[in-house]
């Protein structure tokens, strides 16, 4: 049975694929290898969770799809660029992603580096060129996404902290910091971006920031759990990878059962933050459940 939230995500994914197809040059356009590589990775069957969060947050505050789709595409492009670079031999050295060869395995390292680079460029361009939004709103979105994906508190700084931590036993606060930056920041920014487009008040934005931060942490914690409990076939990427490379993870620190209880508590905190928003927040609530119960 397909639940309402699953149907929502399917609809977001269909809309997203259309928008991405418009913003990424066609495979036949020169340089074809570069554009094929981008398309290989961006249409590789990703879960589209960030665009879904952005769209859910936007709808909560009354934004319509046309206003949300380009920024949703931008967030997914930034996410995909980070995956392509994260998979490189010098980084995680992963051969498999979403059940397919990783970008560098398929197109070579040089093209994979360039494909990641230019996906970031296309992301910021998609927002800058979005004529459904006022210039002030676009500027705010670009700044928000740059903070979330950059340094010193965003995604790339989290990836560096993660690199620095390999082979070390970390205190819990450090693991949390890595997760917050590496995964949480962009997920949180997706929620905030939707709220910005929906013209949420400052108080509402604060609540959505907390919701997004908890949801981001929840996503990482459940990701860690899936890494130790699922087989590679279901996961679509190499399972057990975290342990074998001695990455800092929650199950590694607390064990599986305690990590599951923590996930439930984090989910409740995310929902509590929504109590401060006097709108219909059911979509955002349902997303937290989906993150907890997902199988990949």
């Amino acid at each position: 049975m397909v639940t309402e939230i699953e149907e929502f995500i399917s609809a977001v994914s269909r809309d997203l694929d259309k928008t991405l197809d418009e913003h990424v040059p066609k495979s036949k356009a020169e340089p074809t290898r570069l554009h094929e590589a981008i398309r290989w990775s961006i249409f590789a069957g990703g879960k589209r969770i960030r665009p879904a969060i952005l769209t859910a947050a936007g709808r909560t505050f009354g934004a319509v799809n046309a206003q949300l789709s380009q920024t949703a595409a931008a967030v997914e492009m930034i996410h995909t660029y980070s995956l392509i670079h994260d998979d490189l031999p010098a980084m995680d050295n992963d051969d498999l992603r979403r059940g397919k060869a990783t970008c560098h395995k398929q197109f070579g390292e040089a093209t994979a580096i360039l494909a990641g680079d230019v996906l970031q460029t296309l992301a910021f361009k998609a927002i800058a060129d979005d004529e459904t939004l006022g210039a002030e709103t676009r500027i705010r979105l670009i700044s928000t996404l740059a903070d979330a994906s950059g340094t010193p508190t965003g995604m790339v700084s989290g990836q560096q902290l993660d690199l620095d931590a390999e082979g070390k036993t970390l205190p819990l606060e450090k693991i949390e910091q890595i997760h917050r930056q590496k995964t949480g920041a962009l997920i949180s920014a997706a929620a905030v971006a939707g709220a910005i487009i929906g013209d949420a008040s400052e108080d509402e934005l604060t609540a959505i920031k907390i919701y997004g931060a908890r949801l981001g942490l929840l996503f990482q914690v459940t990701d860690d759990l899936l890494d130790v409990t699922q087989r590679t076939g279901i996961l679509g990427k190499t399972a057990g990878k975290d342990e074998s490379s001695e990455k800092a993870t929650y199950p590694g620190h607390f064990g599986i059962e305690k990590t599951r209880a923590m996930a439930a508590a984090i989910r409740d905190e995310a929902c509590d933050a929504l109590l401060l928003v006097e709108r219909d927040t059911s979509l955002l609530r349902d997303l937290t459940d989906l993150v907890v119960t997902r199988k990949r």
Copy 2:
């Protein structure tokens, strides 16, 4: 003797270093390795030619330094990110840049990939957060720089075409296309960005685009010449690199003497474009001379 244009570039460089220092997190800020790597590359004694072009174009149209410095820094950050990634083992595999170890030689490949990634992010953020400019202007600048550094007609697509061309003998049009995209697009965008900030008219922007495109080509042609005529010590990077890796170059195609004559002709075309701009364009003219006569 220091000429007027050399003094201008020195002044731009000093202002730029200050702005960059404000926009790149301190070396002591976590993750320190990432921030050290960024600073290693961005304060490595670059020629600062792109910020100088942007500033010269901006001044030509009456913009003041405070309005120009963040976008100038952004252009230099994009240029530096491209150098860091270009030097990687999977790309040009260069050990030396501006007389120093390249970023990946000093900090490892993973950190160099991340340093390049986040420099791009910081570049777009610097413009988005520039409160000396109206939101519409910032949006235009971000879109212009994204086009120039992205694909299908920008810097990254030029790098891909260059990769695709290695080991092949190319027709002249193809060499020109690679140069236009890989180097010319960002140099041209620097000129256009300055003109946008100075609120140039559409006709003036068209003239500056032509000027910038010729200047960009001139820069690449003279760069190729320096690669075959200068020793590694003066150049600060590995000389003779183009030939040994069978890159598409002008001297390789036409020989040194004919390439020198072409450079002079391209310089004249750049200056001819300025005849359409009824302002004092002496700074922009002097820059073309500087590019022709430079020794590194």
